[in-house]
């Protein structure tokens, strides 16, 4: 790898690049999916290649190839330089990365059980057992289960002298029960541990074992069936709402994680993912939430899905304050955007989805720090409200202000107790008003770092794996029950 990297960087410098980096990436993915008592998918995918990023004539160029051969390395570097020179045709100013970053080191995800050494038969057996437990419940129409394991090895080298190797390992799993009633046209779903297929972390197979899929399967299926005949979520323009930690994780992702990406704040995503309401004039000057809202970007949380050693610019992983006692105090930055806004050094959030994509600013682990409430005390303290759990639908505008979420399941809270089961629950709001009405966050005992393995951004499209730590939290005056 070092030979390829040195060759690429040498050609880049000789042919006029003022900066170049190369990433050589190999990613193995194993996926097992079961459905209705049968194995539906067993696959092992490997992808490898190199991506070269250069600055020439003051502008960016990037080229990538799956062929790891010296002749191809030269072609790719020259292509990247040609692309950079074409980019320069429209430049308003030269790219400025600020102070050089010289990182040397190695990082490896800490795993107790390497998931790629666990026999496939054991994984299949576990999923089928959970599936069988769900299918025992009368009224379930479709049952599914999934495991995903990822191992990514990457080498980053730059003309500034960085040379880094990293191995990131991820394990993910989930089960789903679907219940339908054609007469009423009702379709209800319950997922565990999280929706959209699975929960995932940078950990080994021990993470799968801890999830206790089989033990939770009957409850998941029973709830899906019970939802068919549950009352619909009532409409209320000023409800008290408690979100479970998994739904709150997605709320953080959409309404805090995306608007703090400094590339979109500065307009880079204007035509696609959108811009942000958190414009630079609001930094250290805007009340994002109530006093109990404290949010950090932390790429160092052990085992979290957005945890790594270095970002794809070679900047070491770090923890950054984003919202402190409700005040907006920080962005996710790259070397170029941090320089542009005079924020000092990058806080290390540039990540690429594989060898064939350039790094862009991505969430690491965007965590709502734990508060002081126990879950039981919070429910007991709520006289009239709703508990919503597990995301079912999500949508937010292009500035990240107006959001609407639906959850798989909800309960009414009356007199400090969870009571009536409710289906088709939805809530909607405006980001700073919603976080401004947060009056309680639960404590560390209820805090979970959820994995979001499906965050889309960028053109060409890139998928990022992000983490979000959260404990249940309470919000006042929320509009709920949007479905007629």
């Amino acid at each position: 790898m070092r030979d390829i990297a040195n060759r690429a960087l040498n050609i880049a410098q000789v042919r006029g690049a003022t900066y170049a980096d190369i990433r050589i990436v190999a990613r193995d993915t194993q996926r097992i999916a079961v459905k209705n008592g049968r194995v539906e998918a067993l696959e092992q995918d490997e992808t490898q290649g190199l991506g070269v990023r250069v600055i020439a004539n003051g502008a960016w160029g990037f080229a990538a190839s799956s062929r790891l051969e010296m002749s191809e390395v030269e072609r790719v570097v020259l292509q990247a330089i040609a692309i950079a020179k074409a980019s320069a045709l429209t430049k308003a100013r030269d790219v400025d990365l600020g102070e050089p970053v010289v990182s040397k080191g190695a990082y490896q995800t800490a795993v107790k059980i390497d998931p790629f050494t666990v026999p496939m038969a054991d994984k299949i057996a576990l999923l089928l057992q959970a599936d069988e437990e769900m299918r025992r419940v009368n009224g379930v129409k479709v049952t599914r289960g999934e495991m995903v394991f990822v191992r990514e090895n990457k080498t980053l080298a730059s003309t500034e002298g960085s040379f880094i190797t990293q191995e990131i390992v991820e394990s993910g799993c989930g089960i789903v029960a679907l219940a339908t009633d054609l007469r009423s046209g009702e379709v209800q779903v319950r997922s565990y541990p999280n929706s959209v297929g699975r929960h995932q972390q940078t950990r080994g197979y021990e993470f799968i074992v801890e999830q206790k899929l089989v033990e939770n399967a009957p409850r998941v299926a029973e709830q899906a069936v019970a939802l068919l005949t549950a009352d619909p979520c009532p409409s209320d323009d000023a409800a008290t709402l408690i979100l479970d930690s998994s739904q709150l994780a997605l709320q953080i992702h959409e309404s805090c994680g995306h608007p703090i990406e400094l590339d979109r704040v500065l307009g880079s995503e204007a035509a696609y993912a959108g811009t942000s309401f958190l414009t630079p004039d609001k930094l250290n000057n805007f009340r994002y939430g109530s006093e109990v809202v404290n949010i950090v970007a932390d790429a160092t949380v052990p085992g979290a899905l957005g945890t790594f050693g270095y970002d794809d610019e070679g900047v070491p992983a770090q923890r950054t304050d984003i919202v402190k006692n409700g005040l907006f105090v920080g962005y996710l930055t790259s070397r170029e955007t941090a320089r542009q806004l005079g924020l000092g050094q990058s806080n290390g959030t540039m990540r690429a989805d594989g060898w064939n994509r350039p790094p862009i600013i991505r969430m690491t682990n965007i965590n709502l720090l734990p508060g002081t409430w126990s879950v039981d005390d919070l429910i007991a303290d709520t006289d009239d409200g709703l508990w919503m759990e597990t995301n079912r639908s999500w949508s937010i505008d292009d500035k990240r202000l107006n959001f609407q979420f639906g959850t798989e399941i909800a309960w009414e809270i009356k007199g400090g107790k969870k009571t009536r089961l409710l289906k088709n629950a939805t809530y909607t709001g405006i980001t700073p008003q919603f976080w401004g009405a947060c009056d309680a966050v639960c404590n560390e005992q209820a805090w979970v770092v959820w994995g979001t393995p499906n965050c889309g951004k960028g053109q060409p499209p890139q998928i990022a794996h992000t983490g979000h730590g959260a404990a249940p939290a309470r919000f006042r005056n929320v509009r709920v029950g949007v479905i007629k």
Partner: protein, 446 residues
Amino acid sequence: MLGIERVRELTQQILALSKADETEVLFTGTDAALTRFANSQIHQNVAETNTDIRVRVVCGKKIGVASSNDLSPDALKRTVDTARVIAQLQRENPDFRALPEPQPIPRVEAFVEHTANFSPEQRAQAVSVLCKKAKAQGVVAAGAFATTALEIAVANSRGVFAYHPVTYADLNTVMTAETGTGYASFTHADARAVNVEALADEAIDKALRSRDPGATEAGEYTVLLEEYAVHDILNFLAFVAFSAQAVQEDRSFMKGKFGEKVMSESVTLWDDGCAPDTIALPFDFEGVPRQKVVFVENGIARGVVYDTATAQRDGVASTGHSLPAPNTMGPLALHMFMAPGDTPKRELIRGIERGLWVTRFWYTRVVHPMKVLITGMTRDGTFLIEKGEVTRPVKNLRFTTSYLDALNRVRAISRETKLFINDWGGASRRVPALVVDGFRFTGATQ
């Protein structure tokens, strides 16, 4: 691009390596480039060369899949071996019968050399035109210009060999004029067909007219949906309703409705991967020729798409709509069309007493699949219509409405249609603009 003979040789080489009862190879070759611009300058400019093989082996009724983008002899053997080892660990799938037999595949020309050879300088020149026009009007340009060449092939041990090269160019832009934004996009197999100036003019005009939007109350409106918005409606119908798997699992409104009226009489929807006016792909990822499938004809529910597995379940033939193995999603319509009407687009606004002009939708998600209940936002050009004319821009609105109900309340359909290709998955759609009554908006943004 490897070309048909090299791809044929490669796939045969892989099939020869397999000792399984049946083997299938899906080959995908990609030469893709994309120039991205924002703040009226290029800020990201990329190119990618990749070749990928996906091998499905069948041992009795046990199936395993492995893929790799390493085409070295060792890697090919490793991939085939991995697929076989996985298959042997598998449990028998009693539903599986056999890989598809060879069938005649229509030849569709979809590869344009000019698009495949489009250079970074040519993309930069186009972007430069957009940026200059933007600056001249005091607006800011953002967007992306992609040119892509693909070659897709499927071969199996029963004698299937299908190969198809295809290109497309896609240019989209959002122009920002202080508080207003305007969108335009264009997709075509031939990059020479992209009229950059016209696209710039459309987006700039809309951005300028969108400045200083006012508030408008949520509620039900008659809406004029431009093609950009209608495209989204077809995307969701494909996913939640027009797949045999969705019907078999009782989660599609089409279940039990075939032959019945489900939409307005003016609505006809179909899928045709061999049509000349789409980004064609005449076979699916199992090598089965794509059939034209009519979903809704003059408002009447007619059919859904099948792959081999769902077809066997219903005792019918596959319509050629499989996704790559191992496919848990079921079949999917990738080349949808909506029939045009007879009203010129510029005349659609006539007769709308009070309504909204919607350029496009954003961040749309399913709230309830059976009802095709969708929530999302308007974006990049939303206007109030009063007495048949656009009177003022309005702030973006959130809708929570049934796309199925919307297609039951179609008042008019434009004569013109527009082609789209999705960023995610490459599905193409050709759609007209629509006027729809009773579209439900549930909130507004700031």
